[in-house]
């Protein structure tokens, strides 16, 4: 295979890691909404935890993105 083509395919494959981050962030927000619609008075107090969980999950997706960039540009 042409090395340049393999590089682009590899960068594309590396970004597949974002699938997991997408599912994870979706799960977090769906869990928050389920809880928030059942008990709206407690929802505001959990905003920091919501963002924290989403940020920690999203970091793994960002790792995949940075890995893709590293493969593409190095």
């Amino acid at each position: 295979m042409d090395p340049a083509a393999a590089k682009y395919i590899g960068a594309g494959l590396a970004t597949l890691g974002m699938i997991g981050a997408g599912i994870g962030v979706g799960t977090i927000f769906s869990g928050f909404l389920q809880g928030a619609t059942r008990n709206p008075s407690a929802a505001a107090g959990q905003f920091t935890n919501l963002i924290l969980g989403a940020a920690l999950t999203e970091a793994l997706g960002i790792l995949a993105f940075v890995l893709g960039l590293l493969i593409l540009f190095s």
Partner: protein, 261 residues
């Protein structure tokens, strides 16, 4: 058309002579666009708070309410996560939050985002982790090992848990730097790619014939740019907030080590 990565290039704005510092070697004092946008961000913060507190009164005016609002927002955050000792770390958390927030917002108005440079975000992350380590060892001394040995876990589980906790501690500065960097870089690349679609589809549509349909695609991607820009404003705030929250959480781990409040 310029590549979407073109906007992240560093180029000198003001060339200054190289200074020889004994022990450190030659240091280039030239001001590049990254340093310039950081300087603008810092001066905006200083000017804003000078303006807000210029005529401070017991009954605050409109401007003072904005300043006090930002102040108490981060104060509530720090004391909420760290507990009543959060007050002593509030200045650091507040400075980091404001600096990142203004740099992110400036990136949406100017052509250059300082937080899309890994060097800038990594410096922020290293500062936070150094503070965590210094505070941790100063307060707990050799008891810092409890960070990796959670209380109430049976010994056979510790064989598994301790290495995981240790690796996750080592990854904290990496993820802290990469999260901000990746979000800003990814957002601005997406904006540029969608904006590039508008130009290239319009150029294609101008050739006439069936290609005139390209105008519909150009309108669609122009709408995409507008929608993405508003999303980027949310992300710009959220990433500054996340950085502040994570700084508080990491500080809380070492400040309240072994006892939960």
């Amino acid at each position: 058309m310029a590549s979407p990565m073109h906007q992240f290039e560093i180029h000198p704005v003001l060339t200054l002579p190289t200074v020889n510092v004994p022990g450190l070697g030659a240091i280039d004092l030239s001001i590049n666009n990254s340093i310039l946008s950081m300087m603008i961000a810092a001066s905006i913060i200083v000017a804003f708070f000078a303006l807000v507190t210029a005529r401070a009164a017991v009954v605050p005016g409109r401007l003072q309410v904005i300043g006090e609002g930002i102040f108490s927002y981060i104060d509530d955050l720090a004391t909420g996560i760290i507990g009543h000792e959060g007050r002593s770390f509030f200045p650091y958390v507040f400075s980091v939050f404001l600096f990142i927030l203004v740099m992110n917002f400036l990136g949406l108005f100017l052509v250059f985002t300082a937080t899309s440079q890994l060097a800038v975000t990594a410096t922020m992350a290293v500062m936070t982790i150094l503070l965590v380590l210094i505070v941790g060892f100063a307060r707990n001394g050799a008891n810092m090992y409890k960070l990796f040995v959670p209380a109430g876990v049976p010994w056979y589980m510790l064989i598994l848990v301790t290495p995981i906790e240790f690796i996750s501690f080592l990854l904290r500065p990496v993820t802290l730097a990469l999260r901000l960097f990746g979000n800003m870089l990814g957002g601005h690349v997406a904006l540029k790619v969608f904006a590039g679609f508008v130009v290239s589809l319009c150029a294609l549509a101008a050739t006439g014939g069936i290609a005139t349909l390209g105008y519909a695609g150009a309108a669609l991607s122009l709408g995409g740019v507008v929608a993405l820009t508003s999303l980027e404003f949310l992300v710009a705030f959220l990433q500054a907030f996340v950085f502040a929250v994570l700084t508080c959480v990491y500080l809380n781990d070492v400040v309240n080590l072994g006892h939960h409040h």
